[in-house]
Protein backbone atom coordinates (compact mmCIF):
# COMPACT_ATOMS: atom_id res chain seq x y z
CA UNK A 1 0.00 0.00 0.00
CA UNK A 2 2.76 2.38 0.98
CA UNK A 3 4.58 1.46 -2.19
CA UNK A 4 1.49 2.22 -4.25
CA UNK A 5 1.17 5.62 -2.64
CA UNK A 6 4.82 6.25 -3.33
CA UNK A 7 4.38 5.22 -6.95
CA UNK A 8 1.40 7.54 -7.29
CA UNK A 9 3.36 10.39 -5.81
CA UNK A 10 6.20 9.64 -8.21
CA UNK A 11 3.79 9.57 -11.13
CA UNK A 12 2.36 12.89 -10.05
CA UNK A 13 5.83 14.39 -9.67
CA UNK A 14 6.74 13.39 -13.23
CA UNK A 15 3.42 14.06 -14.91
CA UNK A 16 3.28 16.33 -17.93
CA UNK A 17 1.81 19.20 -15.90
CA UNK A 18 4.46 19.00 -13.22
CA UNK A 19 7.17 18.99 -15.88
CA UNK A 20 5.74 22.18 -17.33
CA UNK A 21 6.00 23.85 -13.95
CA UNK A 22 9.56 22.60 -13.46
CA UNK A 23 10.41 24.01 -16.88
CA UNK A 24 8.96 27.42 -16.04
CA UNK A 25 10.71 27.49 -12.66
CA UNK A 26 14.01 26.45 -14.25
CA UNK A 27 13.83 29.15 -16.90
CA UNK A 28 13.05 31.79 -14.32
CA UNK A 29 15.78 30.53 -12.01
CA UNK A 30 18.35 30.96 -14.75
CA UNK A 31 16.99 34.39 -15.65
CA UNK A 32 16.95 35.51 -12.02
CA UNK A 33 20.55 34.45 -11.52
CA UNK A 34 21.52 36.34 -14.66
CA UNK A 35 19.50 39.41 -13.72
CA UNK A 36 20.54 39.70 -10.10
CA UNK A 37 24.11 38.75 -10.86
CA UNK A 38 24.27 41.60 -13.37
CA UNK A 39 24.97 39.15 -16.17
CA UNK A 40 21.91 40.01 -18.22
CA UNK A 41 22.17 42.38 -21.16
CA UNK A 42 19.98 45.45 -21.16
CA UNK A 43 18.04 43.98 -24.05
CA UNK A 44 17.13 40.86 -22.06
CA UNK A 45 16.30 42.88 -18.95
CA UNK A 46 13.89 45.07 -20.84
CA UNK A 47 12.19 42.07 -22.42
CA UNK A 48 11.57 40.08 -19.26
CA UNK A 49 8.40 41.68 -17.96
CA UNK A 50 6.67 42.02 -21.31
CA UNK A 51 7.44 38.40 -22.23
CA UNK A 52 6.05 37.30 -18.86
CA UNK A 53 2.91 39.32 -19.52
CA UNK A 54 2.56 37.75 -22.95
CA UNK A 55 2.84 34.29 -21.39
CA UNK A 56 -0.04 35.11 -19.06
CA UNK A 57 -2.06 36.63 -21.91
CA UNK A 58 -1.47 33.65 -24.20
CA UNK A 59 -2.21 31.04 -21.54
CA UNK A 60 -5.42 32.82 -20.55
CA UNK A 61 -6.52 33.29 -24.16
CA UNK A 62 -5.80 29.61 -24.66
CA UNK A 63 -8.60 28.90 -22.21
CA UNK A 64 -11.05 30.65 -24.55
CA UNK A 65 -9.63 29.56 -27.90
CA UNK A 66 -8.11 26.20 -27.07
CA UNK A 67 -10.42 24.78 -24.43
CA UNK A 68 -13.74 26.47 -25.14
CA UNK A 69 -13.13 26.63 -28.88
CA UNK A 70 -14.43 30.16 -29.38
CA UNK A 71 -12.45 32.81 -31.21
CA UNK A 72 -11.91 35.97 -29.18
CA UNK A 73 -10.13 38.91 -30.80
CA UNK A 74 -10.54 41.38 -27.96
CA UNK A 75 -7.97 40.14 -25.49
CA UNK A 76 -5.84 43.29 -25.72
CA UNK A 77 -8.96 45.28 -24.82
CA UNK A 78 -9.42 43.40 -21.56
CA UNK A 79 -5.73 43.77 -20.87
CA UNK A 80 -5.92 47.54 -21.29
CA UNK A 81 -8.97 47.76 -19.02
CA UNK A 82 -7.05 45.95 -16.32
CA UNK A 83 -3.94 47.96 -17.01
CA UNK A 84 -5.49 51.40 -16.69
CA UNK A 85 -7.79 50.60 -13.78
CA UNK A 86 -5.04 48.76 -11.90
CA UNK A 87 -2.43 51.43 -12.54
CA UNK A 88 -4.81 54.22 -11.53
CA UNK A 89 -5.58 52.27 -8.35
CA UNK A 90 -1.85 51.93 -7.75
CA UNK A 91 -1.27 55.66 -8.35
CA UNK A 92 -4.02 56.70 -5.98
CA UNK A 93 -2.87 54.42 -3.20
CA UNK A 94 0.86 54.96 -3.60
CA UNK A 95 0.99 57.30 -0.60
CA UNK A 96 -1.33 55.13 1.44
CA UNK A 97 0.50 51.86 0.76
CA UNK A 98 4.09 52.61 -0.22
CA UNK A 99 5.10 48.95 0.01
CA UNK A 100 5.12 47.50 -3.50
CA UNK A 101 4.66 43.92 -2.27
CA UNK A 102 1.21 44.81 -0.95
CA UNK A 103 0.19 47.49 -3.44
CA UNK A 104 1.03 45.62 -6.64
CA UNK A 105 -0.84 42.41 -5.81
CA UNK A 106 -3.82 44.50 -4.69
CA UNK A 107 -3.65 46.52 -7.90
CA UNK A 108 -3.46 43.30 -9.92
CA UNK A 109 -6.54 41.92 -8.20
CA UNK A 110 -8.34 45.24 -8.66
CA UNK A 111 -7.38 45.51 -12.32
CA UNK A 112 -8.21 41.83 -12.89
CA UNK A 113 -11.63 42.20 -11.30
CA UNK A 114 -12.34 45.31 -13.31
CA UNK A 115 -11.38 43.52 -16.52
CA UNK A 116 -13.48 40.55 -15.45
CA UNK A 117 -16.51 42.80 -14.97
CA UNK A 118 -16.02 44.28 -18.42
CA UNK A 119 -15.56 40.74 -19.74
CA UNK A 120 -18.85 39.77 -18.14
CA UNK A 121 -20.69 42.77 -19.60
CA UNK A 122 -19.24 42.13 -23.06
CA UNK A 123 -19.66 38.37 -22.82
CA UNK A 124 -23.28 38.32 -21.72
CA UNK A 125 -24.67 39.38 -25.10
CA UNK A 126 -21.69 38.37 -27.26
CA UNK A 127 -21.51 34.74 -26.18
CA UNK A 128 -24.88 34.02 -27.72
CA UNK A 129 -23.03 34.25 -31.02
CA UNK A 130 -20.84 31.54 -32.47
CA UNK A 131 -17.66 31.30 -34.49
CA UNK A 132 -16.90 34.17 -36.85
CA UNK A 133 -19.67 36.35 -35.47
CA UNK A 134 -18.27 36.17 -31.96
CA UNK A 135 -14.81 36.94 -33.32
CA UNK A 136 -16.09 40.07 -35.05
CA UNK A 137 -18.01 41.25 -32.00
CA UNK A 138 -15.02 40.77 -29.68
CA UNK A 139 -12.82 42.55 -32.20
CA UNK A 140 -15.22 45.48 -32.19
CA UNK A 141 -15.43 45.45 -28.40
CA UNK A 142 -11.65 45.65 -28.17
CA UNK A 143 -11.66 48.70 -30.42
CA UNK A 144 -14.50 50.31 -28.48
CA UNK A 145 -12.61 49.82 -25.23
CA UNK A 146 -9.51 51.36 -26.81
CA UNK A 147 -11.45 54.38 -28.02
CA UNK A 148 -13.19 54.90 -24.70
CA UNK A 149 -9.88 54.83 -22.84
CA UNK A 150 -8.31 57.20 -25.38
CA UNK A 151 -11.09 59.70 -24.75
CA UNK A 152 -11.17 59.49 -20.97
CA UNK A 153 -9.45 62.30 -19.13
CA UNK A 154 -8.62 60.21 -16.12
CA UNK A 155 -6.37 57.90 -18.15
CA UNK A 156 -4.48 60.76 -19.72
CA UNK A 157 -6.25 60.64 -23.06
CA UNK A 158 -4.28 59.97 -26.21
CA UNK A 159 -1.05 61.08 -24.53
CA UNK A 160 -1.33 58.11 -22.26
CA UNK A 161 -0.82 57.45 -18.59
CA UNK A 162 2.47 58.62 -17.14
CA UNK A 163 3.58 56.49 -14.22
CA UNK A 164 6.61 58.61 -13.30
CA UNK A 165 4.83 61.77 -12.14
CA UNK A 166 5.91 62.95 -8.72
CA UNK A 167 3.23 62.09 -6.20
CA UNK A 168 2.06 59.10 -8.15
CA UNK A 169 5.31 57.42 -9.06
CA UNK A 170 4.56 53.74 -9.59
CA UNK A 171 7.08 52.84 -12.30
CA UNK A 172 9.37 50.00 -11.27
CA UNK A 173 12.49 48.49 -12.79
CA UNK A 174 12.43 44.94 -14.20
CA UNK A 175 14.68 43.82 -11.35
CA UNK A 176 11.97 44.80 -8.89
CA UNK A 177 9.06 43.46 -10.92
CA UNK A 178 10.49 40.06 -11.87
CA UNK A 179 9.40 38.20 -8.70
CA UNK A 180 5.81 39.42 -9.23
CA UNK A 181 5.95 38.33 -12.86
CA UNK A 182 7.19 34.87 -11.86
CA UNK A 183 4.39 34.45 -9.32
CA UNK A 184 1.74 35.68 -11.76
CA UNK A 185 2.93 33.33 -14.51
CA UNK A 186 3.04 30.37 -12.13
CA UNK A 187 -0.42 31.11 -10.73
CA UNK A 188 -1.89 31.44 -14.22
CA UNK A 189 -0.27 28.24 -15.46
CA UNK A 190 -1.30 26.24 -12.40
CA UNK A 191 -4.87 27.53 -12.46
CA UNK A 192 -5.26 26.71 -16.15
CA UNK A 193 -3.77 23.25 -15.76
CA UNK A 194 -5.89 22.46 -12.73
CA UNK A 195 -9.10 23.63 -14.37
CA UNK A 196 -8.34 21.49 -17.40
CA UNK A 197 -8.29 18.41 -15.19
CA UNK A 198 -11.45 19.11 -13.23
CA UNK A 199 -15.12 18.57 -13.91
CA UNK A 200 -15.37 22.20 -15.01
CA UNK A 201 -12.55 21.77 -17.51
CA UNK A 202 -14.13 18.63 -18.90
CA UNK A 203 -17.42 20.49 -19.29
CA UNK A 204 -15.62 23.32 -21.13
CA UNK A 205 -13.84 20.90 -23.47
CA UNK A 206 -17.11 19.02 -23.99
CA UNK A 207 -18.67 22.27 -25.22
CA UNK A 208 -15.76 22.70 -27.63
CA UNK A 209 -16.07 19.16 -29.01
CA UNK A 210 -19.84 19.09 -29.34
CA UNK A 211 -22.06 21.79 -27.95
CA UNK A 212 -25.36 20.02 -28.59
CA UNK A 213 -24.20 16.82 -26.92
CA UNK A 214 -22.76 18.76 -23.98
CA UNK A 215 -26.12 20.45 -23.46
CA UNK A 216 -27.96 17.14 -23.65
CA UNK A 217 -25.51 15.70 -21.11
CA UNK A 218 -26.50 18.39 -18.62
CA UNK A 219 -23.73 20.96 -19.07
CA UNK A 220 -24.90 24.55 -18.68
CA UNK A 221 -23.32 25.93 -21.84
CA UNK A 222 -24.05 29.63 -21.29
CA UNK A 223 -22.70 29.52 -17.73
CA UNK A 224 -19.43 27.90 -18.74
CA UNK A 225 -18.89 30.14 -21.73
CA UNK A 226 -19.31 33.15 -19.47
CA UNK A 227 -17.05 31.74 -16.74
CA UNK A 228 -14.28 31.08 -19.25
CA UNK A 229 -14.61 34.52 -20.78
CA UNK A 230 -14.56 36.23 -17.38
CA UNK A 231 -11.62 34.17 -16.12
CA UNK A 232 -9.57 34.90 -19.23
CA UNK A 233 -10.37 38.61 -18.89
CA UNK A 234 -9.30 38.51 -15.22
CA UNK A 235 -5.86 37.14 -16.01
CA UNK A 236 -5.45 39.47 -18.98
CA UNK A 237 -6.27 42.38 -16.68
CA UNK A 238 -3.82 41.23 -14.01
CA UNK A 239 -1.08 40.86 -16.63
CA UNK A 240 -1.95 44.34 -17.84
CA UNK A 241 -1.36 45.84 -14.40
CA UNK A 242 2.11 44.30 -14.29
CA UNK A 243 2.78 45.49 -17.83
CA UNK A 244 1.72 49.03 -16.90
CA UNK A 245 4.10 49.19 -13.95
CA UNK A 246 7.05 48.42 -16.19
CA UNK A 247 6.58 51.44 -18.48
CA UNK A 248 7.02 55.11 -17.78
CA UNK A 249 4.23 56.01 -20.17
CA UNK A 250 1.47 53.85 -21.61
CA UNK A 251 -0.59 54.94 -24.60
CA UNK A 252 -4.01 53.30 -25.03
CA UNK A 253 -3.50 53.19 -28.81
CA UNK A 254 -1.03 50.32 -28.34
CA UNK A 255 -3.82 47.95 -27.34
CA UNK A 256 -5.44 47.71 -30.73
CA UNK A 257 -6.49 44.63 -32.67
CA UNK A 258 -2.90 44.09 -33.80
CA UNK A 259 -1.99 43.20 -30.27
CA UNK A 260 -5.04 40.92 -29.90
CA UNK A 261 -4.01 39.12 -33.05
CA UNK A 262 -0.44 38.87 -31.82
CA UNK A 263 -1.69 37.05 -28.72
CA UNK A 264 -3.86 34.82 -30.88
CA UNK A 265 -0.89 34.00 -33.08
CA UNK A 266 1.03 32.88 -30.00
CA UNK A 267 -1.85 30.61 -28.97
CA UNK A 268 -2.28 29.11 -32.42
CA UNK A 269 1.45 28.67 -32.92
CA UNK A 270 1.87 26.97 -29.55
CA UNK A 271 -1.01 24.65 -30.28
CA UNK A 272 -4.66 25.01 -29.29
CA UNK A 273 -5.22 23.89 -25.73
CA UNK A 274 -1.53 23.28 -25.06
CA UNK A 275 -0.24 25.29 -22.12
CA UNK A 276 3.46 24.52 -22.57
CA UNK A 277 3.01 25.35 -26.24
CA UNK A 278 1.67 28.79 -25.33
CA UNK A 279 4.59 29.43 -22.99
CA UNK A 280 7.21 28.40 -25.50
CA UNK A 281 5.54 30.28 -28.35
CA UNK A 282 5.24 33.43 -26.24
CA UNK A 283 8.94 33.35 -25.43
CA UNK A 284 9.90 32.58 -29.02
CA UNK A 285 7.64 35.12 -30.68
CA UNK A 286 8.41 37.96 -28.30
CA UNK A 287 12.12 37.26 -28.08
CA UNK A 288 12.61 36.66 -31.78
CA UNK A 289 11.95 40.24 -32.98
CA UNK A 290 14.30 41.53 -30.28
CA UNK A 291 17.02 39.04 -31.16
CA UNK A 292 16.72 39.97 -34.81
CA UNK A 293 17.20 43.65 -34.15
CA UNK A 294 20.61 43.41 -35.81
CA UNK A 295 18.99 42.35 -39.07
CA UNK A 296 16.70 45.33 -38.89
CA UNK A 297 15.69 45.32 -42.54
CA UNK A 298 14.75 41.66 -42.73
CA UNK A 299 13.26 41.38 -39.25
CA UNK A 300 9.60 41.25 -40.19
CA UNK A 301 10.38 39.05 -43.18
CA UNK A 302 12.08 36.40 -41.04
CA UNK A 303 9.31 36.65 -38.45
CA UNK A 304 6.60 35.97 -41.01
CA UNK A 305 8.55 33.18 -42.70
CA UNK A 306 8.98 31.44 -39.34
CA UNK A 307 5.23 31.74 -38.77
CA UNK A 308 4.36 30.30 -42.17
CA UNK A 309 6.83 27.42 -41.86
CA UNK A 310 5.59 26.45 -38.39
CA UNK A 311 1.96 26.58 -39.53
CA UNK A 312 2.69 24.40 -42.55
CA UNK A 313 4.67 21.90 -40.50
CA UNK A 314 2.04 21.76 -37.78
CA UNK A 315 -0.62 20.64 -40.23
CA UNK A 316 1.68 18.18 -41.98
CA UNK A 317 0.87 14.60 -41.02
CA UNK A 318 4.37 13.30 -41.63
CA UNK A 319 5.92 16.00 -39.52
CA UNK A 320 3.48 15.28 -36.69
CA UNK A 321 4.49 11.61 -36.77
CA UNK A 322 8.14 12.60 -36.83
CA UNK A 323 7.60 14.98 -33.96
CA UNK A 324 5.75 12.46 -31.82
CA UNK A 325 8.75 10.13 -32.05
CA UNK A 326 10.84 12.74 -30.29
CA UNK A 327 8.25 14.04 -27.88
CA UNK A 328 8.94 14.02 -24.19
CA UNK A 329 6.40 11.30 -23.54
CA UNK A 330 7.84 8.87 -26.04
CA UNK A 331 11.36 9.55 -24.78
CA UNK A 332 10.23 8.63 -21.29
CA UNK A 333 8.57 5.50 -22.65
CA UNK A 334 11.74 4.51 -24.49
CA UNK A 335 13.67 4.88 -21.29
CA UNK A 336 11.19 2.65 -19.50
CA UNK A 337 11.36 0.09 -22.29
CA UNK A 338 15.12 -0.07 -22.25
CA UNK A 339 15.00 -0.47 -18.48
CA UNK A 340 12.56 -3.36 -18.82
CA UNK A 341 14.80 -4.95 -21.40
CA UNK A 342 17.75 -4.63 -19.08
CA UNK A 343 15.83 -6.34 -16.34
CA UNK A 344 14.75 -9.17 -18.60
CA UNK A 345 18.32 -9.54 -19.87
CA UNK A 346 19.61 -9.80 -16.36
CA UNK A 347 17.14 -12.53 -15.62
Amino acid sequence: MAKKNFNNALKKAFSKDALTIYLVVAIYAVISIMLYGDLASRQLTNMLISVSCYIVLAVSLNLVVGLLGELSLGHAGFMSVGLFSGCLFSMWTVDLIPMLYIRLPLAMIFGGLFAAIVGFVVGLPALRLKGDYLAIVTLACGEIIKNIITNLEITGGALGLTTTNSGSYIYSKPKVLLPYAIVLVLITVVVMMNIKKSRHGRAIMAIRDNRIAAEATGVNVTYYKLIVFVLAAFFAGAAGVLYGHSFANIKPAVFNYNMSIEILVIVVLGGMGSINGSIIAAIALKALPEMLRGLDKYRMLIYSIVLIVVMLLNSNQKFIEFKSKFSFKSLLKMKKKSKKEEISNEQ
Binding site: S198, H200, A206, N210, I212, A213, T217, G218, N220
Partner: protein, 283 residues
Protein backbone atom coordinates in the same frame (compact mmCIF):
# COMPACT_ATOMS: atom_id res chain seq x y z
CA UNK B 1 -35.26 -10.94 -12.76
CA UNK B 2 -35.38 -10.51 -16.49
CA UNK B 3 -37.94 -13.28 -16.76
CA UNK B 4 -40.54 -10.99 -15.27
CA UNK B 5 -40.23 -8.83 -18.33
CA UNK B 6 -40.50 -11.57 -20.93
CA UNK B 7 -42.39 -11.26 -24.13
CA UNK B 8 -46.04 -10.75 -24.90
CA UNK B 9 -46.23 -7.73 -22.60
CA UNK B 10 -49.64 -6.90 -21.36
CA UNK B 11 -50.52 -3.26 -21.71
CA UNK B 12 -53.15 -2.01 -19.33
CA UNK B 13 -55.22 1.13 -19.66
CA UNK B 14 -54.01 4.23 -17.91
CA UNK B 15 -56.30 7.21 -17.32
CA UNK B 16 -56.50 9.46 -20.39
CA UNK B 17 -56.75 6.60 -22.87
CA UNK B 18 -53.13 5.49 -22.84
CA UNK B 19 -51.52 2.17 -22.01
CA UNK B 20 -48.59 1.23 -19.82
CA UNK B 21 -47.12 -2.19 -19.01
CA UNK B 22 -49.02 -3.94 -16.23
CA UNK B 23 -46.10 -3.82 -13.76
CA UNK B 24 -45.89 -0.03 -14.04
CA UNK B 25 -49.52 0.50 -13.16
CA UNK B 26 -50.11 2.41 -9.97
CA UNK B 27 -46.86 4.29 -10.32
CA UNK B 28 -46.65 7.70 -11.88
CA UNK B 29 -45.57 7.34 -15.54
CA UNK B 30 -42.12 8.70 -16.18
CA UNK B 31 -43.15 10.59 -19.29
CA UNK B 32 -46.56 12.09 -20.05
CA UNK B 33 -46.82 14.00 -23.30
CA UNK B 34 -50.07 15.72 -24.17
CA UNK B 35 -51.04 17.06 -27.60
CA UNK B 36 -47.50 18.12 -28.43
CA UNK B 37 -47.01 20.09 -31.62
CA UNK B 38 -44.52 22.33 -33.35
CA UNK B 39 -44.70 24.52 -36.46
CA UNK B 40 -41.68 25.65 -38.41
CA UNK B 41 -43.07 28.67 -40.18
CA UNK B 42 -46.05 27.33 -42.06
CA UNK B 43 -44.94 23.70 -41.82
CA UNK B 44 -46.41 21.59 -39.06
CA UNK B 45 -43.65 19.10 -38.28
CA UNK B 46 -45.35 17.35 -35.40
CA UNK B 47 -48.99 17.65 -34.46
CA UNK B 48 -51.10 16.33 -31.59
CA UNK B 49 -48.45 13.90 -30.35
CA UNK B 50 -49.45 12.23 -27.09
CA UNK B 51 -47.73 9.36 -25.36
CA UNK B 52 -47.39 7.91 -21.91
CA UNK B 53 -44.34 5.90 -20.97
CA UNK B 54 -44.34 3.70 -17.86
CA UNK B 55 -41.52 3.75 -15.35
CA UNK B 56 -39.74 0.68 -16.70
CA UNK B 57 -41.24 0.47 -20.15
CA UNK B 58 -39.31 0.00 -23.36
CA UNK B 59 -41.22 2.13 -25.81
CA UNK B 60 -40.66 2.33 -29.54
CA UNK B 61 -41.23 5.25 -31.86
CA UNK B 62 -41.32 4.20 -35.48
CA UNK B 63 -42.42 5.64 -38.78
CA UNK B 64 -41.26 6.20 -42.33
CA UNK B 65 -38.44 8.63 -43.12
CA UNK B 66 -39.34 12.23 -42.43
CA UNK B 67 -42.24 11.34 -40.16
CA UNK B 68 -40.92 13.63 -37.41
CA UNK B 69 -39.47 11.06 -35.00
CA UNK B 70 -36.23 12.92 -34.29
CA UNK B 71 -38.22 16.15 -34.04
CA UNK B 72 -40.20 14.52 -31.23
CA UNK B 73 -36.94 13.72 -29.42
CA UNK B 74 -35.77 17.29 -29.92
CA UNK B 75 -39.07 18.51 -28.49
CA UNK B 76 -38.81 16.21 -25.49
CA UNK B 77 -35.33 17.55 -24.69
CA UNK B 78 -36.35 21.17 -25.43
CA UNK B 79 -33.83 21.54 -28.26
CA UNK B 80 -36.94 22.89 -29.99
CA UNK B 81 -39.53 24.51 -27.82
CA UNK B 82 -42.99 23.12 -28.60
CA UNK B 83 -45.60 25.40 -30.09
CA UNK B 84 -48.44 23.48 -28.44
CA UNK B 85 -48.92 20.86 -25.79
CA UNK B 86 -47.18 19.85 -22.59
CA UNK B 87 -44.49 17.44 -21.45
CA UNK B 88 -44.39 16.07 -17.92
CA UNK B 89 -41.28 14.25 -16.74
CA UNK B 90 -42.11 12.34 -13.59
CA UNK B 91 -44.96 14.78 -13.06
CA UNK B 92 -42.92 17.96 -13.61
CA UNK B 93 -43.50 20.20 -16.59
CA UNK B 94 -40.50 20.95 -18.82
CA UNK B 95 -42.06 24.07 -20.29
CA UNK B 96 -39.58 26.94 -20.55
CA UNK B 97 -36.66 24.82 -19.37
CA UNK B 98 -33.40 24.70 -21.31
CA UNK B 99 -31.89 21.48 -22.60
CA UNK B 100 -29.48 20.97 -19.71
CA UNK B 101 -32.24 21.58 -17.19
CA UNK B 102 -34.38 18.94 -18.89
CA UNK B 103 -31.42 16.61 -18.48
CA UNK B 104 -31.36 17.36 -14.74
CA UNK B 105 -35.05 16.50 -14.62
CA UNK B 106 -34.30 13.03 -15.90
CA UNK B 107 -34.21 12.81 -19.69
CA UNK B 108 -30.97 11.64 -21.28
CA UNK B 109 -30.54 10.99 -24.97
CA UNK B 110 -28.25 9.74 -27.70
CA UNK B 111 -28.06 11.05 -31.24
CA UNK B 112 -28.77 9.63 -34.66
CA UNK B 113 -25.37 10.77 -35.95
CA UNK B 114 -23.02 10.02 -33.07
CA UNK B 115 -22.05 13.07 -31.06
CA UNK B 116 -19.15 12.24 -28.78
CA UNK B 117 -16.55 14.55 -27.28
CA UNK B 118 -14.05 13.10 -29.68
CA UNK B 119 -10.90 14.78 -28.30
CA UNK B 120 -11.60 13.67 -24.75
CA UNK B 121 -10.75 10.20 -23.51
CA UNK B 122 -13.44 7.54 -23.22
CA UNK B 123 -13.35 7.85 -19.44
CA UNK B 124 -13.65 11.64 -19.58
CA UNK B 125 -16.67 11.34 -21.86
CA UNK B 126 -18.48 9.37 -19.19
CA UNK B 127 -17.19 11.75 -16.51
CA UNK B 128 -18.83 14.65 -18.37
CA UNK B 129 -22.02 12.66 -17.90
CA UNK B 130 -21.30 12.56 -14.16
CA UNK B 131 -20.75 16.35 -14.21
CA UNK B 132 -23.83 17.25 -12.21
CA UNK B 133 -23.54 14.48 -9.65
CA UNK B 134 -19.98 15.52 -8.76
CA UNK B 135 -19.56 17.74 -5.75
CA UNK B 136 -16.52 19.72 -6.75
CA UNK B 137 -16.78 23.47 -6.66
CA UNK B 138 -14.76 25.90 -8.74
CA UNK B 139 -12.34 26.64 -5.92
CA UNK B 140 -11.52 22.95 -5.47
CA UNK B 141 -11.05 22.65 -9.22
CA UNK B 142 -8.60 25.55 -9.33
CA UNK B 143 -6.53 24.46 -6.34
CA UNK B 144 -6.87 20.67 -6.74
CA UNK B 145 -7.48 20.54 -3.02
CA UNK B 146 -10.53 20.74 -0.77
CA UNK B 147 -12.06 17.41 -1.73
CA UNK B 148 -10.90 17.43 -5.33
CA UNK B 149 -9.03 14.14 -5.12
CA UNK B 150 -11.89 12.38 -3.40
CA UNK B 151 -14.47 13.62 -5.90
CA UNK B 152 -12.30 12.66 -8.88
CA UNK B 153 -11.59 9.22 -7.46
CA UNK B 154 -15.28 8.59 -6.91
CA UNK B 155 -16.09 9.80 -10.41
CA UNK B 156 -13.36 7.59 -11.89
CA UNK B 157 -14.80 4.58 -10.11
CA UNK B 158 -18.36 5.33 -11.18
CA UNK B 159 -17.35 6.05 -14.76
CA UNK B 160 -15.43 2.78 -14.93
CA UNK B 161 -18.52 0.96 -13.67
CA UNK B 162 -20.56 2.43 -16.51
CA UNK B 163 -17.86 1.45 -19.00
CA UNK B 164 -17.67 -2.00 -17.50
CA UNK B 165 -21.40 -2.37 -18.01
CA UNK B 166 -20.76 -2.13 -21.74
CA UNK B 167 -17.50 -4.14 -21.55
CA UNK B 168 -15.42 -1.11 -22.49
CA UNK B 169 -13.31 -0.62 -19.36
CA UNK B 170 -10.14 -1.56 -21.21
CA UNK B 171 -10.61 1.32 -23.66
CA UNK B 172 -10.91 3.97 -20.92
CA UNK B 173 -7.80 5.94 -21.87
CA UNK B 174 -8.27 5.96 -25.65
CA UNK B 175 -9.56 9.15 -27.29
CA UNK B 176 -13.27 8.72 -27.96
CA UNK B 177 -12.85 9.68 -31.61
CA UNK B 178 -10.55 6.72 -32.24
CA UNK B 179 -13.06 4.06 -31.18
CA UNK B 180 -14.68 1.71 -33.68
CA UNK B 181 -18.24 2.56 -34.67
CA UNK B 182 -20.05 0.08 -32.43
CA UNK B 183 -18.04 1.14 -29.39
CA UNK B 184 -18.82 4.80 -30.10
CA UNK B 185 -22.52 3.96 -30.02
CA UNK B 186 -22.12 2.15 -26.72
CA UNK B 187 -20.06 5.00 -25.25
CA UNK B 188 -22.79 7.46 -26.15
CA UNK B 189 -25.30 5.34 -24.24
CA UNK B 190 -22.90 5.02 -21.30
CA UNK B 191 -22.46 8.78 -21.20
CA UNK B 192 -26.21 9.31 -21.24
CA UNK B 193 -26.69 6.75 -18.45
CA UNK B 194 -24.06 8.51 -16.34
CA UNK B 195 -26.38 11.51 -15.99
CA UNK B 196 -28.63 9.18 -13.91
CA UNK B 197 -31.75 9.69 -16.01
CA UNK B 198 -35.25 8.40 -15.41
CA UNK B 199 -35.78 7.80 -19.10
CA UNK B 200 -33.24 7.42 -21.86
CA UNK B 201 -34.05 8.31 -25.45
CA UNK B 202 -32.12 6.34 -28.08
CA UNK B 203 -32.17 7.74 -31.60
CA UNK B 204 -31.60 4.87 -34.04
CA UNK B 205 -29.18 2.96 -31.81
CA UNK B 206 -28.87 0.09 -34.30
CA UNK B 207 -28.15 2.23 -37.36
CA UNK B 208 -25.19 0.82 -39.29
CA UNK B 209 -24.90 -2.29 -37.13
CA UNK B 210 -24.66 -5.87 -38.37
CA UNK B 211 -27.09 -8.56 -37.07
CA UNK B 212 -24.78 -9.78 -34.30
CA UNK B 213 -24.13 -6.24 -33.08
CA UNK B 214 -27.87 -5.58 -33.17
CA UNK B 215 -28.48 -8.68 -31.06
CA UNK B 216 -25.94 -7.43 -28.54
CA UNK B 217 -27.60 -4.01 -28.53
CA UNK B 218 -30.97 -5.64 -27.84
CA UNK B 219 -29.50 -7.46 -24.89
CA UNK B 220 -27.90 -4.20 -23.69
CA UNK B 221 -31.17 -2.29 -23.85
CA UNK B 222 -32.88 -4.96 -21.75
CA UNK B 223 -29.98 -4.87 -19.29
CA UNK B 224 -30.23 -1.08 -19.04
CA UNK B 225 -33.86 -1.34 -18.06
CA UNK B 226 -33.33 -4.24 -15.65
CA UNK B 227 -30.19 -2.88 -13.98
CA UNK B 228 -31.01 0.78 -13.71
CA UNK B 229 -34.78 0.40 -13.50
CA UNK B 230 -35.38 3.19 -15.98
CA UNK B 231 -37.56 3.58 -19.03
CA UNK B 232 -36.17 3.42 -22.56
CA UNK B 233 -37.69 5.07 -25.59
CA UNK B 234 -36.14 4.36 -28.94
CA UNK B 235 -36.45 5.36 -32.55
CA UNK B 236 -35.49 2.52 -34.83
CA UNK B 237 -35.94 1.31 -38.37
CA UNK B 238 -34.83 -2.25 -37.59
CA UNK B 239 -38.26 -3.86 -37.18
CA UNK B 240 -36.83 -7.08 -35.78
CA UNK B 241 -35.32 -5.13 -32.90
CA UNK B 242 -38.40 -3.01 -32.32
CA UNK B 243 -40.86 -5.90 -32.40
CA UNK B 244 -38.60 -7.96 -30.15
CA UNK B 245 -37.95 -5.63 -27.27
CA UNK B 246 -40.52 -2.85 -27.32
CA UNK B 247 -43.57 -3.21 -25.13
CA UNK B 248 -45.50 -0.28 -26.44
CA UNK B 249 -45.04 1.12 -29.93
CA UNK B 250 -46.13 4.43 -31.34
CA UNK B 251 -46.22 4.91 -35.10
CA UNK B 252 -45.72 8.36 -36.55
CA UNK B 253 -46.44 9.45 -40.10
CA UNK B 254 -46.32 13.00 -41.44
CA UNK B 255 -46.02 14.31 -37.89
CA UNK B 256 -49.17 12.59 -36.68
CA UNK B 257 -49.64 9.48 -34.55
CA UNK B 258 -51.34 6.88 -36.71
CA UNK B 259 -51.23 3.91 -34.37
CA UNK B 260 -50.33 2.90 -30.83
CA UNK B 261 -50.21 -0.50 -29.20
CA UNK B 262 -48.32 -3.71 -28.57
CA UNK B 263 -46.01 -5.07 -31.29
CA UNK B 264 -48.64 -7.60 -32.37
CA UNK B 265 -51.30 -4.94 -32.71
CA UNK B 266 -48.96 -2.72 -34.69
CA UNK B 267 -47.93 -5.53 -37.06
CA UNK B 268 -51.52 -6.16 -38.06
CA UNK B 269 -52.64 -2.55 -38.18
CA UNK B 270 -53.65 -1.71 -41.77
CA UNK B 271 -52.83 1.99 -41.29
CA UNK B 272 -49.23 1.15 -40.41
CA UNK B 273 -48.85 -1.16 -43.37
CA UNK B 274 -50.24 1.59 -45.56
CA UNK B 275 -47.80 4.19 -44.20
CA UNK B 276 -44.84 1.94 -44.87
CA UNK B 277 -45.84 0.22 -48.08
CA UNK B 278 -48.52 2.43 -49.60
CA UNK B 279 -52.17 1.71 -50.29
CA UNK B 280 -53.08 -1.55 -51.95
CA UNK B 281 -54.53 -1.04 -55.38
CA UNK B 282 -57.93 -2.56 -55.84
CA UNK B 283 -57.70 -5.18 -58.50
Amino acid sequence: MSNNYEHKPKLVPYPSNAFVPERDLGKRPVLEVNHLGIDFGGLTAVDDFSIIVGRTEIAGLIGPNGAGKTTVFNLLTNVYHPTRGSILVDGMSTAGKSTHQVNHMGIARTFQNIRLFSNLSVLDNVKVGLHNSMKENFFAAVTHGFGYGKAEKKADKEALEFLDFFHMADMADAPAGSLPYGAQRRLEIARALATSPKIILLDEPAAGMNPSETAELMENIRRIRDNFGIAVMLIEHDMKLVMNICEGICVLDHGKVIAKGTPDEIKSNPKVVEAYLGKAKEA
